[in-house]
């Protein structure tokens, strides 16, 4: 199977490889894994006070498509608000990188990594992601 030029470009020159401080309140960390191929992906975002993503880093152990998918989304999320970042769909990633059907799960992994990172960030800022009913139950 041959990789598309865009996949090769990201694979050979991955953007934004690295780590951000997990403990930083402005940083959201998403860890996901694809059982089908054993790929693991860590995606981190740093969010400014205005809710815009200022920086993104990733570390991925996986095939070229998984590395390219995570590299691509770190570029895409920068400058977006966290809610805009949540709109990124795996089909857009797959289309941009011309991923063959057997590699679609790599793009799903990248989409889920963004969601996990945003969720982690929001949980640090007390966003109501959980059902409010729970808090009622916990009173008293």
């Amino acid at each position: 199977m041959s990789y598309s030029e865009k996949v090769l470009d990201h694979y050979e020159h991955p953007r934004n490889v690295g780590s951000l401080d997990k403990g930083d309140a402005q940083v959201g960390t998403g860890m996901v894994g694809a059982p089908a191929c054993g790929d693991v992906m860590k995606l981190q975002i740093r969010v400014g006070k205005d809710g815009v993503i200022e920086d993104a880093k990733f570390k991925t152990y996986g095939c070229g498509s998984a590395i390219a998918s995570s590299s691509l989304v770190t570029e895409w999320v920068k400058g977006k608000t966290v809610d805009e970042a949540l709109q990124i769909k795996n089909s857009q990633i797959a289309e941009e990188l011309a991923l063959p059907p057997v590699k679609i799960h790599c793009s799903i992994l990248a989409e889920d990594a963004i969601k996990a990172a945003v969720q982690d960030y929001k949980s640090k800022h007390g966003s109501v992601l959980e059902a409010p009913a729970c808090r009622e139950n916990c009173k008293g």
Binding site: M31, G38, V40, K59, Y61, I108, A113
Partner: protein, 180 residues
Amino acid sequence: MQAVAPGFQQDFFQLFCLPTSYRLDNALLDQYYRALQEQVHPDKFSHLSEAERRISMQWSTRVNEAYQTLSNPTKRARYLLSLHGVDIQEESNTAMPADFLMKQMEWREAIEEARQARDVAELDKLESRLQHELRGLEAQLADRIDDRQDYAAAAGDVRKLKFLEKLAEEIASALDALDS
């Protein structure tokens, strides 16, 4: 319509006359495999009609597929769960427990470091640690599938096994690369 031999609907465990369980007598599986293979081997049917030869070919393929599935602990678990209507969602379920994924990252880093340092002893050590983890996970699977019928939890274990298998591949390829 292709001729299909009777009994083709049997599942792999029935085909091998083995109990439908995760725990498996490997020696018995190997023994039955050789016996079945001998029965259906296409060479035995070279004097028969094309239809009969085709059936023997189908049987031979099915016996091989069954053996590949049952002899591999991960494939066997996935197959067994599918018989119980449980899909392990290996393509779509990316939400593994955070500590498990963190450990996966550490494993991959350790393998990468050992590969770069050309440290065969360290890779061997990682390999035996991994085998230990694999045995533990397989024992847990046997407990969940055979004893508790907790198929949802077992599906999570099979997803974990897939990651550990990948680590085994990575270690083997690192050792191969240093060997040459």
